[in-house]
Amino acid sequence: MGKIVAPAIIRGEIITDNLVSFGGRGGDMEFLSPDPMTIVDRLPLRNPAEMRKLYTLTIDEIIDFLVELGAALDLSRNAHMQEALEHSYAATDLTPSILRWQYSLIQQYFSREMVRGFIDVPIGIPFVEGWQPVTLADGRTASIRAMGARCLHITAGNSPMTALISLARNALTRSDAIIKSPSNDPFTALAVARTMIDMAPDHPLARHFSVAYWKGGSLDFEEKLYQPKNIEKIIAWGGFASVKHVTQYIQPGLELISLDPKRSATIIGRDTFADEATMRDAALRAATDIGASNQTGCSSARVVLVESGTDDEGLARLRKLAAMTYEAMLRLPDNISNKPKTFDPELRSNIDGLRATPDFYEVIGGKDDEGAIIVSKLDDVVDFYPSLSGRVANFVPLDNVSDAFRFVTSYTQTVGIYPEALKLRLRDELPLFGAQRIVTLGYAMTANPALPQDAIEPLRRMVKWIVDEQCPEDTCPPLWRDSLVHA
C-alpha cells in the first residue's frame, strides 16, 4: 500500500492501468508504472502526418510556449514538480539540497534568451522556420530545411535537467518524443508532461511528448518498439552497458545518437604555483569541478593532472594543492555539494588499500565518506579511476603538461584547464587524443545545451535535413541531352 505511482503519459493522456512494480536503483525504492507490454502499441506515433500540426506553430510560438512552461514549472507553485521532487529523494543519488537546487535552475534554463539559443546556435532558426536557398556551382538552386523526426530519448537520471533538455530539443525541432525515464529519476519528465497537459492539453507540443518507464533491457518490449516504422532516431544517454545494449536495435532507418559514458579530467599548469593566491584560486575551481552535484555528472572532474613536477619538491607542491582543494571542497555551498548520499563500498576498499601504500599514495580525507583526494606520488592515475565518485579525485603529478595526453581518450568529455592561457596552448592538441570539451577550470559542471555535446551537435543529428532542388534546364544541363551524353 501507499506505493508511488509513475503513470505513463502518451500524447497527452495519463495512463494508470495495469500497474506493475519496479524497483529503483539500489533496491531501496519501488514505484508502480503501467506494464510496458500493455502500452507498447500505443507509444509510437503511427501516423507521421500528425506531426503536421507542429508546423502550424511558428518558432516564436514554440519559444513562447517553452518560456511559459518554464515559468509554470516554478517549484514554489507547481504541485506536480513538488510531488516529483518529494518522490525523487528516494530514487536519486543526489542529496535533497542538491536536487532541490537543480530543480530551481529550470526557470533560468527556460528564459527566452536561453531557449532561443538552444536552437539558433546549433542550427539557426531560419533553417527550422522555412526553406533556406543555396545556389550551387553546377547551376542548381536548392532549398534546405531542418525538419522534425520521431525520436526515442533514453534519458539519464543523474540530473533532472536531462529530461528538461530533451523536452526543449524536441519542441524546438518540431519532433515527436518518447521519453524513457531512468530508474533513478522516474518522476521529473512526468511532472513536466503533466504541467503541459494542465496548461494546454491539446497543444501540439503537449501531444508530441510522451513519457513511460520500462526496465532497460526488456527485450520483448524493446524489440517491438525499437523499429524503424515506429521511431527514426534513438537519443541514448547513459552508461556503457545501456548504450551498448541499444546498439543491437540499430538498423537502416533507425539511427543512434549516442551521448555515451564519458569521464572528465582536469589539467593544472605549472604557473598555478606562482603564488599562494593563485594556488587557492585553482584549488577552489578544482574543488567546484569535483564537488558540484557531488561528482555525479559525466563532466565532473575525477582525475586532476598537475604540472607540479615529480621530484620531492614537486610532490610537496602537489600535496599542498591537493590539501587546499580538499579544504575548499568541504566549504562549497550546501546546495551544490555536501556529504554524498551513498558511498561505493568497493571504492572505499580501494581507498583503504592505498592507505596501506604510503610509498606511492597519500589519501587526504575520506575517513567519513565525505570525499577525498588521492595524491599519486608517481606520474600515473590509480587503476580504479573509472570508479572515482562520491567526491573522490586523484591528483597526479606531471613533469610536463604534455604528459597529460596519455590520460586523454575517446571517453574523455570535458577537460577543465588552469590557468586560462594554458587552454589556448592545449586546445589544438587535446582533441587529437579524444577530448571533446575544453573549459575554464571551475565551469565543468555549468554546461549550456546550446553548444555541441560529446563532440557532436545533437540537434543537427536529431532533425532530418531535407533538400528541395530546383534545376532549370538552361543553367543546369540535363542528362538526357545528347550533347552531354557524348561529351
Partner: protein, 468 residues
C-alpha cells in the same frame, strides 16, 4: 598438550593435524574449533604484529593490542585491495625494484637482498624473488584488470596442495579410501600445465594428489601459464572496457616471445583430440578430470555423439570450473558431463587466491569452511561484523590461520550468506550458501569473469598477442 600448542599445531599444518582427512576436519565439535581458532589467532597476531609494516600501521591506528575474541580479529581484516594497491604502471614499466619495495610491507620475509634489477617481466621477477628471497608469490588471474599478489612461502603451497587433496577426496566420498589416497589416477587437466597464478597452480595439485607422477598427467596446454601473458590479458580486457585499446602497448619482452605463444596456440586443437583418444583408451580405469568446464563439455558432447557413456563409473572424480571458452554452456551441461564420464556429481568449490581453503559443496549445496579458516560477514557499508550464529548476508571476510609470513585476515569483494546453523550433511563447520556474487556487481556491474576462467582469459590474450 595444552590448547595453545594444539591450536598452533593445527594452524601450522592443518592436513597433518587432521590426519589428511577433511572428514575429520569438518566433524570437530564447533566449541572446540572456536577455542583453537582463538588461541591460534592470538599467536599469529603477537608474532606478526611488529613484523608486517601494514599490519602494525593498521593495528596502531585502531589501537588494537590484543585479541580477546574471534570478533576482535574481524576489525583487522585487510581490504582485498591491499594486495593489489601497487601502482600498475610499475608493472608496465618493469619497475620491479619498486614492486619489491611495495611487497616488503606485506610480508615478514626479508626482501632487502632481492635481486630484481634485471627483470624484464613479471615471470622473471617472480622467479628472481623465489631464487633470492624464498618468497613465492601467487597471483590472481587479474580479471578485474589488476593482479593481486599474495606473498606466500613454499610451505604454504605444500599445505594448499594437501588441502586440495583431502578436500577433493572427502567431498567425492573417498575420505577413507586408501587406494584413492595412494594409487595413481589417470589425471586429465583441461588447462595449462602450471604457472604461478592460483589457477595455474591447480594442475600441480592434481598432479600431487591424483596423478602422483607426471606420466599420469595429461594437460590441454603443454605450457605453463605465463604471468606476463595473464597481465596482458587483464590489460586487454580493461582497455577494451575503457576504450583505451589503441593506447595499449605490448612490451618488447613479450613481443620477443611471439613464436613461443604461436606454438602454444597451434598445439591446443590437436591436444583436445589427443586427450579424447586417451580418455577412450582408459575406459574403466581410475580417472580424475579437472580444469575448464568448456573443454569437458566439448569432450562429453563428442563422446556421447559417438555412443560412449558411463566411461568410468565408480572410479571417477570430476571437478572443473569456469572457463566457458567465451560462449555459454548448454543448459544441461552438467548432465552431459556426468552421462559421458559416469560421475555421480561434479565437484564444486568456493575459494580464492588469498585463502588456504577450498570450501567444498556438500550434499545440501552448502560450501563448508574448514576449521583453519575463520569466516566473517561484514556489513558492506558500515563494516560492522555479524554475530557468529544464525545466518547472515554481507561482505565475506576470512582469517586464514595458516600463513606465518603474511597476515591472514582478509575482507573480500564477495557477498555471501554465511550460515552457522547445523548442516543436515552432518558437518559441524559453518557453511556458505550457493548464491555468491561480487559486491561490485551489486553496485552496478562490472566485467568480472570468474577466476576459474583464467585459462580462457590467458588463451584470449595469446590470441591478442599473436595477431596484434
Amino acid at each position: 598438550m595444552g590448547i595453545n600448542e594444539e591450536a598452533v599445531r593445527m594452524a601450522n599444518d592443518p592436513p597433518r593435524f587432521f590426519d589428511y582427512s577433511a572428514h575429520n576436519a569438518h566433524h570437530v565439535p564447533s566449541a572446540d574449533i572456536e577455542a583453537m581458532q582463538l588461541a591460534a589467532l592470538q599467536e599469529r597476531f603477537s608474532s606478526l604484529r611488529d613484523r608486517i609494516a601494514v599490519l602494525r600501521a593498521t593495528a596502531d591506528e585502531q589501537g588494537i593490542t590484543e585479541f580477546s575474541s574471534l570478533q576482535d580479529a574481524g576489525q583487522l581484516l585487510f581490504p582485498h585491495t591491499v594486495y593489489k594497491s601497487y601502482p600498475v604502471s610499475l608493472l608496465e614499466r618493469n619497475r620491479f625494484d619498486q614492486m619489491t619495495k611495495w611487497l616488503s610491507r606485506l610480508t615478514t620475509v626479508d626482501l632487502s637482498r632481492a635481486e630484481v634489477g634485471d627483470c624484464d617481466g613479471i615471470d622473471s621477477w617472480l622467479e628472481a624473488l623465489e631464487n633470492t628471497t624464498g618468497l613465492s608469490l601467487t597471483h590472481s588471474s587479474g580479471t578485474s584488470g589488476t593482479m593481486t599478489f599474495l606473498p606466500r612461502t613454499s610451505d604454504g603451497y605444500r599445505i594448499m596442495s594437501e588441502v586440495f587433496g583431502m578436500t577433493s577426496r572427502d567431498f567425492n566420498g573417498l575420505d577413507n579410501d586408501a587406494e584413492a589416497r595412494n594409487e595413481p589416477w589417470h589425471t586429465f587437466f583441461l588447462g595449462f600445465r602450471g604457472g604461478r597464478s592460483h589457477a595455474g597452480r591447480a594442475a600441480g595439485w592434481a598432479l600431487d594428489n591424483f596423478a602422483k607422477t607426471p606420466e599420469y598427467l595429461y594437460t590441454l596446454y603443454d605450457a605453463e601459464m605465463s604471468s606476463d601473458v595473464m597481465f596482458m590479458a587483464a590489460r586487454v580486457r580493461r582497455a577494451e572496457a575503457r576504450g583505451e585499446l589503441s593506447q595499449l602497448e605490448i612490451s618488447p619482452a613479450l613481443k620477443a616471445r611471439q613464436a613461443e605463444f604461436e606454438e602454444t596456440q597451434r598445439s591446443v586443437a590437436q591436444a583436445l583430440e589427443q586427450l579424447f583418444e586417451k580418455l577412450l583408451s582408459l575406459r574403466g580405469e581410475r580417472v580424475y578430470i579437472g580444469g575448464m568446464n568448456g573443454a569437458l563439455v566439448e569432450l562429453s558432447q563428442k563422446g556421447l555423439g559417438l555412443g560412449y557413456s558411463d566411461m568410468f563409473t565408480g572410479n571417477i572424480v570430476v571437478q572443473c570450473g569456469g572457463g566457458n571458452k567465451g560462449g555459454a554452456l548448454p543448459d544441461d551441461w552438467e548432465d552431459l558431463c556426468m552421462r559421458f564420464t559416469g560421475a555421480r556429481q561434479l565437484g564444486q568449490y568456493y575459494g580464492m587466491t588469498e585463502v588456504s581453503m577450498m570450501a567444498s559443496k556438500c550434499s545440501e549445496g552448502h560450501y563448508h569452511v574448514p576449521p583453519w579458516v575463520i569466516p566473517y560477514v561484514l556489513d558492506p557499508q558500515s563494516g560492522d561484523l555479524a554475530a557468529r550464529e544464525g545466518s547472515h548476508t554481507g561482505r565475506a571476510g576470512f582469517f586464514d590461520l595458516v600463513p606465518q609470513s603474511h597476515w591472514g585476515g582478509f575482507a573480500t569483494g564477495d557477498e555471501i550468506t554465511l550460515d552457522w546453523n547445523a548442516c543436515p550433511c552432518g558437518r559441524t563447520t559453518p557453511h556458505i550458501h550457493p548464491q555468491i556474487r561480487r559486491l561490485s556487481e551489486k553496485e552496478g556491474g562490472d566485467d568480472k569473469i570468474t577466476c576459474a576462467a583464467a585459462d580462457d582469459a590467458h588463451a584470449a590474450a595469446l590470441d591478442f598477442l599473436t595477431h596484434a
